[in-house]
């Protein structure tokens, strides 16, 4: 064997084959649907809520957050979004309205987190239909957290719920109206915001639950507005003509997001920011 090949073997092939224990084992993926993640990329919802709780908003103070959605396969746009959001004064957190991944794979969710963890503020997510493809629901639960959860920040309770009915083949249980109604009945917070991925008038929302959802929101005196992603383009409307405002986010690819300011009982202002 020539010295060149001997060198190649000892310097390149052997080190590669032996590898370093840890990085090699992390690359050993059992399936694209394998949702194992390093500990810093597990339970991100709980971790971000803990960060948010560490800088509480006093009662009566103005709420201000960044609203975006559908990061999906737009990884190159995330860095600029992070840079832009980090320059926003007085924003308290960011919300991604679902479709963090495109193919429902754990690695995709971690690629987005790899960048969003550079945000100065915590970020929260709600599950989208793409996050439920294949075994994405389980990957989302492992990496982010529950599909339905709520949190109260200052005077506002955020009710985050899974409305991706089509991913469950319209089984009549998504959104979980018992859970949503129980959350809305909670009188502790001055204001409510309901946030989900698929808007109720979309074809991907379970048609048998559309009216129940709209009605529950209509009857909640504390509701400021309902927020969605999925459509990739921004809109503000009252589609049921019942006084309930529905706000849709821009997708990451639109290179634009909303800064939402909320004060008083139900006063709000939307600022559009290009990045």
């Amino acid at each position: 064997m020539s010295p060149f090949l001997r060198n190649l073997f000892t310097r390149a092939v052997l080190p590669l084959a032996a590898g370093s224990w840890l990085s090699a084992c992390e690359m050993i993926e059992f399936s694209p649907n394998d949702h194992r993640a390093p500990s810093h990329q597990r339970d991100l919802t709980a971790k971000n809520l803990a960060r948010l709780a560490a800088s509480p908003l006093p009662a009566q103070d103005t709420l201000r957050f960044v609203f975006t959605g559908d990061s999906q396969r737009f990884y190159d746009d995330v860095e600029d979004l992070v840079k832009s959001v980090n320059q926003q004064p007085d924003v308290q957190f960011m919300v991604v309205a679902g479709d963090i991944s495109d193919f429902g794979l754990g690695r995709e969710m971690r690629w987005v987190d790899d960048q969003l963890r550079h945000l100065r503020i915590p970020y929260l997510t709600v599950i989208g239909n793409h996050d439920l493809v294949a075994n994405g629901g389980e990957a989302y639960e492992r990496i982010f957290g529950p599909r339905n959860y709520s949190f109260t920040y200052g005077d506002t309770k955020f009710i985050m719920t899974d409305t991706n009915g089509r991913e469950y083949n319209f089984n009549g249980r998504i959104p979980d109206m018992d859970w949503v109604s129980a959350q809305l009945r909670d009188p502790a917070a001055r204001r409510h915001v309901v946030l989900s991925h698929v808007p109720p008038l979309d074809g991907d929302f379970d048609p048998t639950l559309r009216e129940a959802y709209a009605q529950a929101l209509r009857e909640d005196p504390r509701l400021v507005f309902e927020m969605n992603g999925h459509r990739h383009s921004h809109s503000v409307s009252q589609p049921f003509n019942d006084g309930v405002t529905y706000i849709n986010s821009y997708a990451f690819e639109r290179r634009r997001y909303l800064v939402v300011t909320v004060w008083g009982d139900k006063e709000f202002r939307l600022k559009h920011v290009d990045f």
């Binding site: 059992f30 399936s31 949702h35 990884y75 860095e79 429902g104 294949a134 994405g136």
Partner: protein, 207 residues
């Protein structure tokens, strides 16, 4: 725990034969080596990773004077790592143009290039007929294809009673899949090769 043990065992495996006793060569010149029938597998293999199983085992065939391997594997992923128990069927083609001797018993195939295709059974939401409008999701949940690049270190075992030469080999493969590759190609700024690579470690035994 199981996977780290498995990982450690497979990482160490290519080194193990070197520590064993050196057996005398037992080449018997005269006996003709009977050719294997076309349907008889030439080797068995077991591996971990590469997106086709926590453990995957199978059989394979060799062509072009052992330069081309065609392997068929069935892989298993337990529920706790993927949400549901997955069974993955894989077809792998690997071309290794060179075999270099290292010692009297050790040889190395420094470069193997190839492709694989896999079929996953057992996903929670692979899509039922009528669940989605046409072309709702353009990609398949269950079929993956991807490129492979690797090396193989082989140890010559004593020849069989019929005189056939046999190797026990340890191999690694770096690979990716169509969905990761597409994500990378469209996002070269945000993603690097390390983001999309997977590693396979395995053992191959000639029959």
């Amino acid at each position: 725990m199981l996977q780290s043990l498995l990982c450690a065992a497979l990482l160490a495996a290519p080194l193990a034969p070197q520590a064993g006793p050196i057996l005398p060569d037992s080449v018997q010149a005269a006996a003709p080596v009977p050719r294997a029938r076309w349907y008889q597998p030439r080797h068995v293999l077991v591996q971990t990773g590469g997106g086709v199983g926590m453990v995957a085992a199978g059989v394979g065939y060799a062509f072009l004077r052992d330069r081309l391997d065609a392997d068929v594997l069935v892989g298993y992923v337990p529920r706790k790592h993927a949400g549901t128990t997955l069974t993955i069927a894989t077809l792998k083609l690997l071309y290794s143009p060179w075999t270099l001797p290292l010692t009297s018993r050790l040889t190395v195939k420094p470069l193997s290039v190839g492709v694989y295709g896999s079929y996953t059974h057992g996903l929670r939401n692979p899509g039922k007929p009528g669940q989605y409008p046409d072309d709702y999701y353009w990609f398949s949940n269950i079929m993956r294809v991807g490129p492979l690049l690797g090396s193989r270190l082989s140890y010559a075992l004593p020849a069989t009673a019929t005189g056939r030469r046999r190797n026990l080999s340890g191999y690694y493969e770096l690979g990716t899949n169509d969905l990761y590759l597409l994500s990378y190609v469209q996002n070269r700024q945000a993603l690097g090769p390390h983001d999309i690579l997977t590693l396979t470690l395995g053992l191959k035994l000639d029959l």
